[in-house]
Symmetry: C2
């Protein structure tokens, strides 16, 4: 974390340098991590807010909590030089990104897909929509702001607004229920 | 384009090398581009599909065309080593990304915001939603697939499905019109 705080680029990070900075031997590092990619992914996970506890009261409430986590994550990565640095470097290293995708993003995505499937089962979500596409709709609006448009606003209540608006629809006058 | 096709990293690209490869003098390059960032952004623009002609028949139809352009762009960047290489390198260079954002993304975004404002004026879009947020909802679902999940499907008809689903809402039984 210190090396990243100091803005050391990933390319210049080595297990040896990490060990030296931590004042331990390389063997100590290798007992826990097989390489710098694995170590880096754990650092990224540590820098992120923990995965949320879902209330489980409804699909709507669970989705709000999932999106609120993304919103806070976005705010954190804007305020934390480390998280920002880490994220940019991960995006630029295909191997790191693949590990981050598999270890951090994929589990969170699986959790959201479960929430959506439960919503379809309980009549909260249209059953004629692929849950993967529904996931992209709920998560996409928030990710556009946190990941693609770092200048976009992330106000309080954004998660609720996105979820409730997508459930209700963007058309002013609703057609009768199908 | 040849240097990028050969996978030359941006850091190794220089106006001198571009001029040498093109068989012209550096002055010839500098007459058109003030630096390699500006040149690179023009290359990115050239590698992209042209901005779409909007039918103007309805907000819905215009949004479908905008999202279809993003879908085709996504398919192109998956099939084109150049576009992929260019995009990744741009993401990893803050200066290039800022130029790409200003020259390619911002105008396309402004176009979509105009379409949404016209939709609010014509009663096709709820007026109680910020058009910026509406834009993130329509565009976000497609961008998640093209930009953040290169493995996600981009089937024919995805643009229509996203636009029509977001307009109608994800809730199975619609509440009466407000």
């Amino acid at each position: 974390m210190k090396l990243l705080e100091d803005g050391v680029p990933l390319a210049d990070l080595s297990i040896e340098r990490v060990a030296r900075t931590a004042g331990v031997g390389k063997a100590t590092i290798y007992r826990r991590w097989s390489g710098k990619e694995e170590l880096f992914v754990d650092v990224m996970r540590a820098a992120e807010p923990p995965d949320p506890q879902l209330p489980g009261t409804s699909m709507r409430d669970d989705l709000v909590v999932m999106l609120e986590t993304l919103r806070r994550r976005g705010l954190a990565s804007r305020s934390s030089a480390i998280m920002h640095n880490v994220y940019v470097q991960a995006k630029c290293s295909p191997r790191i990104w693949a590990a981050y995708e598999a270890n951090v993003i994929a589990p969170r995505r699986a959790l959201t897909l479960d929430v959506l499937r439960r919503g379809q089962r309980d009549g909260e979500l249209r059953t004629d929509i692929d849950v993967e596409l529904a996931n992209d709709m709920f998560v996409g609006a928030m990710l556009v702001r946190t990941v693609l448009r770092p200048d976009a606003g992330l106000p309080e209540g954004l998660a609720e607004e996105i979820v409730d608006t997508l459930l209700a629809g963007l058309r002013p006058v609703r057609p009768p229920a199908q």
